[in-house]
């Protein structure tokens, strides 16, 4: 991980996205939209999308924010990125369909999304620590909300204007690379000695009772 933080303006250009390296630490400024499982399922299965110009607003933030309604409008109470890996079934399709350039979430995504990111020229950014309260003041404005009645506050699509939002780190680059997959491969080598230390035979299998 590099110590320097790169401050990016949204929307990213394809060249900017392709220039980002695994492990690089960044913030983003501009407009982001939110969604979770329901957004993905509806977008792909039912072609139900919020009225957003995705060419101009193509940073998809995976989150279910805690929101409070006040006389002055909506306020963010806390905004904790959610696990993107849960959306893997639809990840690639949504990236291609909307031409997304930036995904932000927790954890990472799988090979299907990685292929779409490489194809479109886009990255996935993963959160650093539990950070919902640190991100909150970086949301400058709640711009609009879609599908609030149908989906409720957590699954609705919120549009936020953010400033120096982050930091996040690049866990999936635009070349198919994945920080966590690399990390997992190194861990797999260690597992041999961990099993040995625990007295688990290398050829251990569980008792099988099904044909």
């Amino acid at each position: 991980m590099t110590e320097a933080i790169r401050h990016l303006e949204l929307p990213l250009s394809e060249a900017q996205a392709r220039d980002l390296r695994l492990g690089e630490v960044v913030t983003v400024s501009g407009l982001v939209f939110t969604g979770r499982s329901r957004f993905h399922i509806r977008a792909v299965e039912q072609d139900l999308l919020p009225p957003i110009d995705f060419a101009a607003l193509n940073c998809f933030f995976h989150v279910g924010p805690v929101m409070r309604e006040t006389p002055g409008g909506w306020e963010v109470v806390s905004i904790e990125p959610t696990s993107s890996i849960r959306f893997e079934r639809y990840g690639g399709a949504v990236v291609r369909k909307l031409g997304l350039r930036t995904l932000i979430g927790k954890t990472t995504m799988g090979p299907g999304t990685a292929r779409a990111l490489a194809e479109v020229g886009a990255v996935h950014l993963s959160k650093i620590g539990v950070c919902g309260n640190l991100l909150r003041p970086q949301v400058r404005r709640v711009v609009e909300v879609h599908f609030l009645e149908e989906l409720g506050r957590t699954e609705a699509t919120w549009v936020f204007e953010v400033e120096r939002f982050g930091p996040f780190f690049v866990d999936m680059d635009a070349c198919g690379g994945n920080y966590f997959a690399d990390q997992d491969a190194r861990g797999r080598e260690r597992l041999v000695s961990v099993y040995e230390e625990l007295g688990i035979p290398a050829d251990f299998t569980y008792t099988e009772v099904n044909p």
Partner: protein
């Protein structure tokens, strides 16, 4: 006689405190983990998380926005008397959960599993979940509010019915594989508090794992030395995986491994794993028979 109103207000307050504070033993363990990690990303994950929690304790936000499943664990002395009878506990939990949700200490997260409809107040069949047990001859009540985050519950739950021939090797492999899978990419929000249940029926086994993760002081060894030895070995093994905070390269995949056991069938060896995330969200209300309530983040 403890009034229903006292119980509802204690449940609300314990929920609010759980949602906005790190329990002292969890915070101390996170600080110790930070002192140990050397990789910049692993350190950054812990530093951000501790700073995030300090803000929550100062009245700015929540220790984590995914306040998850509203769970209450109630321990009653066998001479405790509750206004309206013990059935009032469920009503009090509903009232406390709805109020904590309206006040934004709980996120409206509970939905119908089939329609996915969200009532907006975290109430519905099975939720909030209240576990009641009777311990000792006392006349008071203790309530632990433990809103359980999604990451640790969704990605940190595993169960397998094994057989005596699978033995200790089977148990240890199952647990260490579950920890490795759960920690991948930070799914369960490591460093996790990992609860392990061995024995019982399927449901008792998972209950043991959940209570080992949620209701024990971090790293306080099991009183049975044989069980404590299994905890020690699994803890050491988890630290040798090369996985640190949030799945980054590092040492602290876990803050603790707690194991609980129950008698089981002579033909069976059930094992369950249930993880708690790094914020270890829980707070305890101690209600005396005269209605006096004391709150603490520490466990008995």
């Amino acid at each position: 006689m403890i009034s229903r109103e006292t119980i509802a207000s204690a449940m609300y307050e314990a929920t609010r405190l759980a949602a906005t504070n790190l329990p002292p033993d969890v915070e101390a363990a996170l600080v110790a983990a930070l002192a140990e990690e050397t990789e910049p990303l692993a350190r950054a994950h812990l530093k951000e998380s501790l700073e995030n929690a300090r803000r929550a304790a100062g009245g700015d936000g929540l220790v984590c926005a995914d306040t998850g499943f509203p769970l209450f664990f109630v321990t009653a002395g066998s001479h405790a008397r509750v206004e309206g009878g013990f059935g009032a506990l469920q009503d009090a939990a509903r009232e406390a959960t709805a109020r904590a949700t309206a006040d934004s200490f709980l996120r409206p997260t509970m939905v119908d599993p089939l329609t996915r409809a969200n009532p907006g107040d975290n109430l519905g069949p099975g939720m909030p979940k209240v576990e009641l047990r009777f311990v000792g001859e006392g006349d008071g009540l203790e309530i632990i509010a433990a809103p359980k985050g999604g990451g640790s519950e969704i990605f940190g739950t595993s169960y397998r019915m094994m057989y005596p021939a699978d033995g200790e090797a089977g148990v240890l492999k199952f647990v260490i594989d579950a920890i490795r899978d759960g920690c991948y990419a930070g799914k369960i929000c490591p460093p996790a508090i990992v609860g392990v249940g061995i024995g019982g029926t399927a449901d008792l086994c998972m209950k043991l794992a959940k209570e080992a993760a949620l209701l024990r002081t971090v790293r306080r060894a099991h009183p049975d030395p044989r069980v404590a030895e299994i905890e020690r070995r699994l803890y050491a093994a988890a630290r040798a995986l090369g996985i640190g905070p949030m799945g980054a390269a590092g040492v602290n995949a876990v803050l603790a491994v707690h194991v609980e056991t129950a008698m089981t069938h002579t033909a069976a060896l059930p094992v369950a794993v249930n993880a708690q995330c790094l914020v270890g969200r829980r707070w305890r209300a101690i209600i005396a028979s005269d209605g006096q309530v004391r709150f603490t983040g520490e466990l008995p």
